[in-house]
Symmetry: none
DNA sequence: TATGAATGAGGGTTCATTCAT
DNA sequence: TATGAATGAACCCTCATTCAT
């Protein structure tokens, strides 16, 4: 998206094959660089990463970076872009939430998206914590779409009498936090990402917890004493 | 600081006042600088913050910073330390969790601690996302104490038969995420912190949600249709 | 430098030339910088010299210095090292002193070594006056080797009855001082270095003075009166 | 000499005692500071010494330094000045050199002057190696007076036929070097200064060496072989 | 007069970016 | 196109000097 697709349009026919191969080569190289950069950004943060490190990790020279990206920041933006697209694609296949499986599926796929290209996610999150543009244009944009899905679903269920009369807007962040926190250590890089099975178990538990709560039944005042 | 404490014992009274005033002045200045620094760190991140900005914000010269801190990083560490103490103090007054009020109280005070000196918290969190030392020595240390309190409480309730048979270790992060996410926008600086009333409402809702879940009752398969 | 030597063995020829040229270019540049630095260090002393001055004198940018040396001090150490080697090489060709010509030769070549790359020597000496590490590891190391040669020679001659019964250890510094002082103004930079002829004449005179003293002959009490 | 003696001349009578005591106090303090400064300058060199270190060593505050000296450099100049005076005084009592005792005496007292306030000498020498003003105005000025004494003496002896026909100007630096080198380690601070007795022995040996040379007698070609 | 905190110019060093090869 | 040396702005930090107390 940034600095791409600017080859001349004429000559397209004749060069077809040649051009296509060239473009693929370029795209492949861009990906290599982005992967390398994401890795280092994830590990040390954007500001603490030097172009030299990126180049070293990508196994190219510093100068070469600038043949594929116009600046260090451009690399970050490309990473963000890519992550955007990944999640966007995932979201595109999700319609309205209609039942429990839909939730499980949405959550599972969302978490999965975050985890599959972990360095990308880490790089983005880390920087989003500091960079308002990235936060808004990427993280919030995606997150709010998810939030809206959830919130709408909850509101509907409340209206339908299936859910207790919670304020959907108030509840939604809690719900999201519930799903997100368990993978935070992985996002931060201090724990291995869960296996698909673990992830499934996790989502199932979370959904169960969410729907029916901790308590055995809605009983009167809870009381535990250590001596009991 | 370098040659303090070695004053002769006679004269104590006279020097006492003098010295004490001086120390208070120094401490006050340190605080001013830390506050200024926290603000800028919070806004732009540690690495993107220049000592010049800190000095400007603190309304002193750059050189003055170094009369109170030995390095830019030292300022950050002092901020982290201070936050540590704030939370530590809060935690010290919390015993075992024994009932619903205890949870509400713990959560409320925890969130409050995070929110009261918001720039400090933001500065610490932002850096913890990138700096392993700060993450471990500060954030994780505190967070794990909280987590252990929660986990123990859940396990106890499960054993007592009050809670459904969840795996406490699995559930705890979800519980924490549930409480934390609603204030995340404030922590990130893109929303005003909640008023105490809002915070209370929030915690109450969260606890209710947590205990009894979204659902009116543990019913059969949930199903909502958009057309309904 | 950081990723050198790991080239595949095929291609050796082609890369060889390339690589060699590159290495020569690097070495040449290092030398240029060292020469420039030595000049300024000699003139103003290490501590009073700014990297900006060095860069200016070397006709490169400040940043470039750090492509060839890791710090200002590293430049100084490289200079010291180079001087070490120069003198070391000179000393390597000197065996035991056995006769007058040997002394003349040793002295001549020693002084010559000091004078040939005068800025280097000045830079080293100047700093040695203040920096214990450089004094010990460089100046004293070399000087003591020379001193040992001289002392051994004197002791031998004394034992052989050729020299009067001086304490060799006591005398040696005097002998060295005798040879060194005449070129001190040049070392300090307030006199042009002697031409080779002057240097020869100087050494010859010194050796003669050293061997037979000032006096016409060992006579009775010397007495000069101004009115005579 | 620098920044001194600028008190108003009127009122002299009435204030006599008071004023005198005050001046003595001031002078004493100046001396204390100079001594402290000389010590640190000697140890680390002028440029590497901070005013804070001087203040610390002198046991006063940094600000106080500036009540007695107008700048850091002024302290150095005062030290130089004082050393000048010390040597000047010594030289004032020396007339023309007329015999061996005169030489011994001159040398002994010269070396003694250098050694008695060693930090002062070290400070001056160290800086003279880098600072042309100090070199010329202090070190060379004194040294050349000594050199002239020696040179004149030698020339006279040569003319009188007592000394072999050396070129006095050529020989003089050697003579001085001979006397100076043995105390150089002390001047540099890597050896304790010689005791008066050692100093005497040293001078005696040097003079003997100087007058009659190393050799037993002016013999034919010297030859030593290790195997002999 | 003595103090030591405040100052800010200037130091060494880093690093994103450019460009000749 | 790939390279990596060159660049210089900007960083963090030091320290001689000033000045309010």
């Amino acid at each position: 998206m940034h600095q791409g697709g600017e080859e001349p349009m004429e000559k397209k026919k004749h060069k077809g094959l040649f051009q296509a191969r060239r473009e693929r080569r370029i795209e492949r190289r861009r990906q290599e660089i982005m992967e390398a950069a994401a890795e280092v950004f994830a590990e040390r943060g954007y500001a603490n990463t030097t172009t030299k490190e990126i180049a070293l990790t990508a196994d190219v020279s510093e100068g070469t970076l600038y043949n594929y990206f116009s600046s260090k920041r451009d690399i970050l933006l490309a990473i963000v872009d890519e992550q955007q697209n990944t999640i966007e694609k995932m979201l595109a296949s999700v319609g309205q939430l209609e039942n429990q499986e839909d939730i499980v599926s949405l959550v599972y796929h969302s978490l999965n998206s975050f985890l599959t290209r972990l360095p990308f996610t880490r790089a983005v999150l880390t920087e989003a914590w500091v960079d308002d543009d990235i936060l808004q244009e990427f993280v919030m944009a995606r997150l709010q779409r998810i939030a809206r899905l959830v919130q709408t679903f909850i509101a509907k269920c409340v209206n339908a009498g299936f859910f207790r009369p919670f304020d959907a807007a108030l509840i939604t962040p809690m719900v999201i936090g519930m799903f997100l926190m368990p993978i935070t250590p992985a996002l931060r890089g201090i724990a291995p990402p869960p296996t698909p099975e673990e992830l499934h178990a996790l989502v199932e538990s979370a959904v169960s917890l969410l729907l029916d709560g901790l308590r055995v039944q809605a009983s009167e005042e809870l009381r535990v004493r250590s001596e009991e």
